[in-house]
Symmetry: C2
Subunit: 114 residues, 2 copies
């Protein structure tokens, strides 16, 4: 079901800090790039501008992904899950998604399974 | 870098409830199936048994995915991100990942972008 940005945001359940986790997936490769957090304002800005915009829990501020690095994320699509407490964002990633420069934030540490 | 299960778990940062978000991705299709939460015990069980095992925040208990439904998740791989505060799990999914029976939890609600 397709919903307006306003209805989409109104349906979400936020945590006690007013935040919701956002899984970011690259269009095409379907690589999972990162997990970030949004509040209502970040969601509204993300949908209005199509530039992925998050809430920084360490800096306590709204943060446009790539504003400093140039590694922006153009939003292609967004979904929320059956519990309405997680968002999945599909993006076109410019450059590396990770602050280390890596393509994804999940590239460096892998478990050895028995 | 590949790490033993013990080292992998020891490196993680958990939230104030002792939990870490886990993004679950299907091997092959690379579909994002769901987001769930694990504590240390769930991580240990997941890596020891290779059956994805979560912490249920609603029931306050350890929960082996598919124990009731049969829709189990066999763990293929696990990664943690640059901040060590999110896990990415690659799985072989039996049946639907969603409690609604859907293949993924993100299938039902999509935003209309302008």
């Amino acid at each position: 079901m397709s919903e307006t940005a306003q209805d989409f945001i109104a349906a979400l359940t936020f945590n006690s800090d007013g935040l919701i986790p956002v899984v970011v997936q690259e269009q095409g490769t379907k690589d999972v790039l990162m997990l970030a957090w949004m509040n209502v304002e970040a969601l509204e800005l993300t949908f209005a501008t199509k530039a992925a915009t998050y809430w920084s829990r360490s800096r306590n501020e709204i943060w446009v992904k790539g504003a400093t690095s140039g590694n922006t994320q153009q939003v292609v699509d967004a979904f929320y899950d059956c519990d309405a407490d997680t968002v999945l964002l599909t993006v076109i990633q410019q450059g590396g998604a990770c602050h280390t420069g890596a393509h994804t934030c999940f590239a460096q540490h892998q478990v050895e399974l028995p």
